[in-house]
Symmetry: D2
């Protein structure tokens, strides 16, 4: 581990200057586990729709660190007691909260790393780092896991209005150019408060919260679940599944060492062993994209065609609607695709497929967003909202999609 006394200020297009405190936080950022996040895109393949969306998980984590620092300082200004240790630990917890993300995380978790979720991997990375840094991440780990006796610190890391969401909504909105998803970070931070160690939003911030939830929903439907991103991700899932299937059959496939490892690996454990974690730490977008580039010329028709779909951005057709698609329609598309590409019944699953997407802006079942009234009373945001929509925002919306090859004219 080496440190430079230079890299302490980072230019961020969103927040301006970000100052990185020296010492443990700085050293964690320098660590190769963290530096690897520079090679993992925050929004997966969304750049196929939004060409500006090439920002990385590294940048998001740094942004989270910054607003967490601001949030904690605001709370101290309001008289909340937060010790130096708690401050550093909470900042570390948010800095590392996503360190377990692999490349194209959602696609990976639905294909070749099926049984180990990124939250679990984040925890394993943090524990490994804790050992390497002689236990100095212990408090950060407790806060991250929600084991610390002051819940608001965990809520700032992971809750319905946490610094993770606050940064990613703003950042993703900025880089996609979807200005409508923009949120007012300064105002959100200014509205935070704590009562009995529980995170609160001050009453006057109620429209800010509503705006946050509406922006978040908008970003889900217009960006994260944009139909073109969705189809690209679903094709990527199938590229990886096919590659794993071929590997298991003994077909030779060019791939980097880390990727080969995961293509061969049986997913059974639910947790990585030390070796798997170490190899996982070497896996990033470059392994996946480079592999697809070579697979464009692979002799397996399914693998090569799916790879080309992404590399040459030649995406299939996708339709979305509220009701499920009729069986007849699906079957007709399957028959057409089988004929067009000469596919088996099994192979056509890679080209014609259906699924559902859903989103819920505010979850009633989880911990509520608490509103602190001027008089010090605590009420749920849904009750506090004089008008509306929060109840409406807590409805789960589900939609159906179908993907199939374009019809040639």
């Amino acid at each position: 581990m080496k440190t430079s006394h230079k890299l302490t200020i980072i230019n961020d297009p969103i927040y301006g200057f970000i100052t990185i405190p020296k010492g443990l936080i700085f050293d964690l950022i320098q660590h190769k586990y963290f530096q690897r996040l520079r090679r993992i895109s925050q929004m997966g393949l969304s750049y196929l729709v939004y060409p500006g969306a090439h920002h990385t998980r590294f940048h998001h984590a740094i942004g989270c660190l910054h607003i967490m620092q601001k949030a904690l300082e605001k709370l101290v200004e309001k008289g909340v007691m937060i010790s130096a240790e708690e401050k550093e630990a909470t900042m570390i917890a948010i800095l590392l909260h996503d360190i377990g993300h692999g490349p194209f995380s959602h696609a990976m978790e639905n294909s070749i790393v099926e049984e180990v979720h990124h939250e679990q991997i984040s925890l394993q990375f943090m524990e490994t780092l804790n050992a390497e840094f002689n236990g100095s991440l212990t408090l950060a780990l407790r806060i991250f896991k929600g084991d610390y006796h002051r819940p608001f610190l965990h809520q700032l890391v992971s809750g319905q209005l946490d610094m993770d969401r606050t940064d990613y909504l703003k950042r993703d909105s900025f880089y996609t150019g979807m200005a409508e998803g923009n949120i007012n970070t300064d105002r959100i931070l200014a509205m935070l408060n704590v009562k009995d160690d529980v995170l609160m939003i001050e009453e006057k911030g109620i429209y800010t919260i509503e705006k946050f939830l509406v922006a978040r929903r908008l970003m889900y439907w217009q960006v994260y679940l944009h139909k073109t991103s969705l189809v690209a991700e679903q094709v990527l899932v199938r590229v990886l599944k096919r590659a794993k299937e071929l590997t298991n059959k003994g077909v030779a496939l060019e791939a980097s060492k880390p990727l080969s490892f995961f293509l061969k690996k049986k997913n059974a454990e639910g947790v990585f062993n030390t070796q798997a974690l170490d190899i996982f730490s070497a896996l990033d977008d470059y392994d996946i994209v480079s592999a697809m580039k070579t697979w464009c010329d692979h002799e397996d028709y399914v693998l090569s065609r799916l790879s080309q779909i992404i590399i040459y951005r030649n995406l299939p057709r996708i339709k979305i609607k509220k009701k499920p698609f009729a069986k007849d329609f699906i079957e007709a598309e399957r028959q057409r695709a089988k004929k067009m590409f000469k596919l088996s019944d099994h192979e056509v699953d890679f080209f014609v497929f259906t699924g559902t997407i859903s989103n819920q802006a505010y979850t009633l079942k989880k911990e509520a967003i608490n509103i602190l009234t001027r008089k010090g009373k605590v009420i749920d945001v849904v009750a506090a909202s004089d008008q509306l929509s929060l109840k409406a925002l807590s409805k789960v919306i589900t939609k159906n999609y179908i993907c199939y090859p374009k019809h040639l004219n």
Copy 2:
């Protein structure tokens, strides 16, 4: 070639909506030669300093297309006659002006693709596309090469105040967060005019031009030649040189097919043959970075250490000053490095090296920026500027740098 009738509006964080005209321009964007620009970072390794700077050459080219369209429309509004063919051709010329850029272009041109410059490759790609599209790029090629009888169209593509620079200054300033490099695109476009088929800036735009030149100089010294970017790029040059050297000695190196081709290739021609061009079209950032990731574990100490320097962002020390560094100082660092890493005289060149950087904001020798006065007279911007600094801006500034391994404390 397939076209979608969907992808006609692109969200750009800078200009808002960009509309892509259907037909030839749309088809060129869909072409795999152009889609590959999605995988080539506009600013090379600058993201090691400016974590937001992950925008691509694809995005820059689309941005150029957009402002070229605006510029041509402004000129037509002012009464300049521009035919539909000229408009399309000029838009194509700017769209494709950088299509010959490879990954980390400046580093490549100084290492493994030494004798073929990206301008030359752009031209070859355009000619290949012209053949594929049945000659419909002929006028675009003439404008690109400056062979067309109306010089202002070429000047908009390539000149001291062209749409390329106008977009990249704004875009790089935006993504790095270096707000001071921001320029007022709308105002620049509003100031354009044409007299006798030569590009002019209207007199009232003179401070706008000066601001453009000052912003450009600022971006050079604070961003493009930022010492950390510089050292990273220089190390990358040496990674690639070492890899080529080893390849020529017969040492086995993991690398993608396209990269292997260029590592083996003798650079003699100055021009690519058809095969080389085709392979070049498959080369992007993913080949280079993936190779360095595997080379981190290579048995050659020089190659592995240099690769680690970039992948783990553990950069050497760099100093910059006006005068050349003293021979004694250089020699002392060489001896120290040789001893520290057990290097031969040849090998130490990869770790301790010097060089120069220089920049000139406005070139007196090239075609001048012409100012059109209210009364219709044409004068050079340097003469027109009542105060100046433009003369000062035309001075070439040169600086010296030295890189060497960090001293351990």
Copy 3:
């Protein structure tokens, strides 16, 4: 009427450059009826809360003109037939839609110009201008009044999603610094369409509409009905009422000629006669504020104290809640104020008063916002919104307030 051939481009902090077409529109802007809008603040006394909110009705009208032009051009691009006459007339209608606003309009309409509403005055000004410009505003007047056979033109001027609201939300959000009220004008314009001469929003714009409505509601509660603005406006109402009361009693009051006229005038007609209209055209913020400045030293305690409250920004206390305030509480405050300032039963009404405020983001009873589906079907936005909140947004929210002098500690 004089015209300058210079003033054709206006710098707007929000939209950049605004180009004013020469001819009739330019001449209307130069007219003294329109120039007077430079002296009328768009947001009344809101600058006492938001110090940046000094923008004028002039600026808002120019902004409306600009986006109307853009909107009409977008529609033409989409194939809607709009003649040059219709375009100019619609632009004039929006330019002049608020020309009847006097200074501190809402306060005026609740005090000294009670029975003539600004819409009525706008109409009278437009008719006067139409006579002066030889009937060339006839079509604009028809569109303004909704008498033209193509309703979408009127809807763009005045509807639930018109160019007036689109500009003022953006502009007021900008100048107050209340970033959360910001809306994406470009996107709104891009979503407009017309079917059977009725204004439509394209289906993909549904979240944009919802965001517009949420932003509008937020601006109402956080800005337009901000309690400090509210109390300032209510005090202003009482300053003017008191001044009228004193004038009617024969007490001498310094005031400009136009203001004196309205202080003396009996409000009975519902319409201005020619003389009243002409005098009204000379009335602006300067008359009101200058009068209050001199009234600060008037011998009538009520008038001088109320004037000081505004001029020295020494505002009373205001409380807002959902339920009406208890009679006992109100009476206690009245008694306290009477005693503190030695007021009569009538006079205390100027210092202790209650009222209600209400807002409805989307009105179900008015013309609906129509959504045009991809397949060309027309549905109401409330039905189209898959989730929520639009029904909730159409609920009328009412709150109660009370104002009374501050208690001294």
Copy 4:
């Protein structure tokens, strides 16, 4: 003096939230001397050119307060010792630095308040406030006057790179929409340092300084000295001069009490007496504009016509060039105007007049901007700038103008 515990956060469109410290600073802001700045436009009549430029001296002073606070906090972070008293005093000094500005200051100082400059009046106001606040502004006054032994505190208030300029450049650029004058406040603040109690700019900030100076020069020529603003201001000077001339002749003129006082006053003292200061404190834009509104109908042709020129925005012609205008040309325009308006030799001076404007971006004679090198050496910014332009920027540029009535076609 009453204080509210509410008004402690102010929304600023530029900096977001501004927090006002309670206590003395808060009480000074509440004082009527300071509240009056709400009625004084920062940029005089510039809104006749830039319709957004209605921001006030109140807002600018609050902005200065905010960045001064930030600047002092940055310096403390860098290890500069600044006591709580020094911090408060420096913040007060910047808050009140412009409190002596009257309405349309430059026009006033060249017409009816000729011999008392606003700096002098600011000082008198501060001394009066110091007496009222029991000597608690004593240190602020010393810093303001440059009498304190730590010069950097004065330099932050008033120097070549002070917080006054830093705020007004940014603010005026923002409200005019002249984006090119925008400066990066965050970066400027981040570059400040102190050595031996003298203000320094860190070496890496050198391009930031240059950009600041270029932006300032651009704002001078394109905004502050914009020819339309210039002609409007020069006409205003003549309105006031004519009003004073008529008053001295005994002609009755409607005007507010404070304005009447200054129209009658002989300017001899160079300093206001207590009465004059008190009356001055009641003078603001509303007195001047209201007077001009009534004077539009005054029987004196010169006064009424000049007033109409401003109120109806019907400005004369202005020409600007480097060389003085030929005597013949001036004389011809005088004769034309005399004839056209039937003016005497004396009266024509109000309609046809010449003058000069000049600007110097960086003054070599004043205290230099000091650059602090990485090694702790101090050098002048002109010497430090490797290239250019700062020497060029220190040249005084002078231009000539002539104004005369428009020729009718």
